[in-house]
Amino acid sequence: MIEVKNLSSRRGDFKLENINFRTESGEYFLILGPNGAGKSTLIKSLLGFYTPQEGEIIFNNRPITNLPPEKRKIGYIPQQLALFPHLKVRGNISFGMKNSSTARSTINRKLQNISQKLNIVDLLDRYPAGLSGGEKQKVALARALVNKPRALFLDEPFASVDRASRQQLWSLLREVLTDFQIPVVHITHDLEEAYALGDSYGLLMDGRLQQKGSREEIFSRPASPAIARFLSYTNIFSGRVQEKVSANKYRVKSAELEFIVESKQKLAGEIQLCVRPQDIKIVQEDKPLRPEIKDNLFNGKILDAIFSPDQVSLTFRPRGTSGAYDFKIKLPDYIYKRYNLSRGKEVRVALWQENLITWPA
């Protein structure tokens, strides 16, 4: 178990403020944050390179805040992996065990175990410079885990691996970690990686953990427009609540559009609302509308379509608006083809009602 209590650390102009979280053994805590949010400062503080001005770091009920890095027994994989270029894979993996007075036979046994588990036995006598990105990752993982650390810290470790190998490595990482049952703290700005790996999440922005929660809570209910923007939810609009139209529904009027917003909490006055690009659906005229999408319908034109391997990002302009209300829409490739969509085409879209996110302005 790792517990971080009220951690504050200042590095030059940058300040990490009042960080609190607790990660249980076997839990994968994912800290998401844009560049410059303080991710590296946080991890270097946890590793023991920066002394915090305030707060405590506790491992298994034992405070380690003032312990030097070499005494913390943490497994660590940094962004550039830092595999020692002068040592073969074998030397890299057993490096940590040679600092303690571990018997040679024990070192060899542990080395064999982890190498078999990660399928890198063939690489043991090679230098890191000759390995592929994915192989280097596995070696870094083996080195971090070989001596049963108290926790594993990962700082954007998959940055230099191609997309296909990344997904394989994610599976391998999760699989290997089930054997270890240690707390994992993974820091990244990559949304896809974050989405795939975390059990619980924290959002680090401007040196503070701005939101904590499950995958669902973070990705469906971002706590602020800034977080929503970081999650690349670009459809954020301001409006004013006009009236309550039914039990949980409100009419919200913005400068050029009107929305019906569902909310269990009472809404009033100026608000900001956000609709995620994946929550906007193309509506076919000849099909009956499902009740979840019938309140917010907009006619308009597809301005642009950007293709990626498995999805299409559309820019949609509602009729009668000047450009400040363009929607970004994400949809699967096959829908784009099936509905025969194209740039310039007039279509009708609907917003997925219950997923509309609101914040008081």
């Binding site: 270097k44 590793l47 023991g48 390179f49 030097p68 890095p69 070499e70 005494k71 913390r72 027994k73 943490i74 660590y76 940094p78 550039q80 830092a82 020692f84 270029p85 002068h86 490096f95 940590g96 040679k98 600092n99 303690s100 230098y127 410079a129 080195r143 001596n147």
Partner: protein, 279 residues
């Protein structure tokens, strides 16, 4: 007034000519310099053979100077490496108030005339502190110890500068990783920093050694030029000329050239081999 217009073919032709001209200038300057070097060595060899019949070669003198030069340069370069390594590592890893001032002070021997440095040392060993040191170590001024000290102070600035550059090129992530893996600072230094700095340290040793073996000004000032006592190869050249023995001077010069070329060539080969190992 209408602008001059050239047809496209004329312009592309002109570009080709100017590119060729540029290359020609580079080749000409390089060739000229190489030619001058060859001419210098050639005229030295010519002088050596011209003066050979009229002079008998004084082998005792030559061997003494050669041995003294090799011993003193090796000692001073080794000491400079041992002293320079912790200093350079400290300066490359820590920033503190006054860092720049200390850095500049340690660079001084690189720029200062060796004669001035030798004179400073001579004056120092004339102070009570200097005499105190001499009482502890034995005589320094006008002795072989003096040669080593003079060479050490001439090369230490260069040594620190080269070593600092080496350490600064080692990513600190490696040291941090080593600490995380349980190594303390000392273990990290000899298990990670030294192996990664090996190449830079070898080339520092060779370059400072080469600088030490050619050292004249500070050696001459602190250790003097006593025959069969403090005559290194460069001092031998000086004495040869003073005694109007051109033949002896040319022998010393030829030996220095041979040693320098040998060291430079072997260091290049060594470092290239090192590169090929890892890539």
């Amino acid at each position: 007034m209408g602008a001059l217009k050239f047809p496209a073919t004329t312009i592309s032709c002109w570009i080709a000519v100017s590119n060729r001209l540029f290359n020609l200038v580079l080749i000409a300057v390089t060739g000229l310099l190489v030619l001058i070097f060859i001419f210098l060595i050639g005229s030295l060899a010519f002088e050596f053979f011209r003066t050979a019949p009229e002079r008998s070669t004084d082998f005792a003198r030559i061997f003494f100077a050669l041995r003294l030069s090799l011993v003193t340069a090796t000692t001073s370069a080794a000491v400079a490496l041992v002293v320079g390594t912790p200093v350079a590592y400290f300066l490359s890893r820590h920033k503190f108030p006054g860092h720049k001032i200390i850095d500049t002070l340690l660079d001084l021997p690189v720029f200062l005339s060796p004669v001035a440095l030798g004179a400073m040392l001579l004056l120092f060993f004339n102070t009570p502190a200097g005499r105190g040191i001499e009482n502890l170590t034995g005589e320094i001024v006008f002795t072989v110890r003096g040669i080593i000290i003079a060479q050490f102070f001439v090369i230490i600035g260069l040594g620190i500068r080269l070593l600092k550059n080496t350490f600064e090129h080692i990513d600190q992530e490696y040291e941090q990783m080593s600490r995380v893996l349980g190594a303390n600072k000392l273990q990290t230094f000899y298990r990670v920093v030294l192996p990664l700095a090996k190449k830079g340290m070898i080339s520092t040793l060779l370059l400072t050694w080469a600088r030490a073996i050619g050292e004249f000004g500070a050696t001459m000032t602190l250790a003097g030029a006593t025959p069969f006592k403090t005559t290194t190869l460069p001092v031998g050249i000086h004495l040869g000329f003073q005694a109007a023995d051109i033949h002896r001077a040319t022998i010393f010069i030829l030996i220095l050239i041979a040693i320098s070329l040998l060291v430079l060539l072997s260091s290049r080969l060594l470092l290239e081999g090192e590169n090929n190992d890892r890539s």
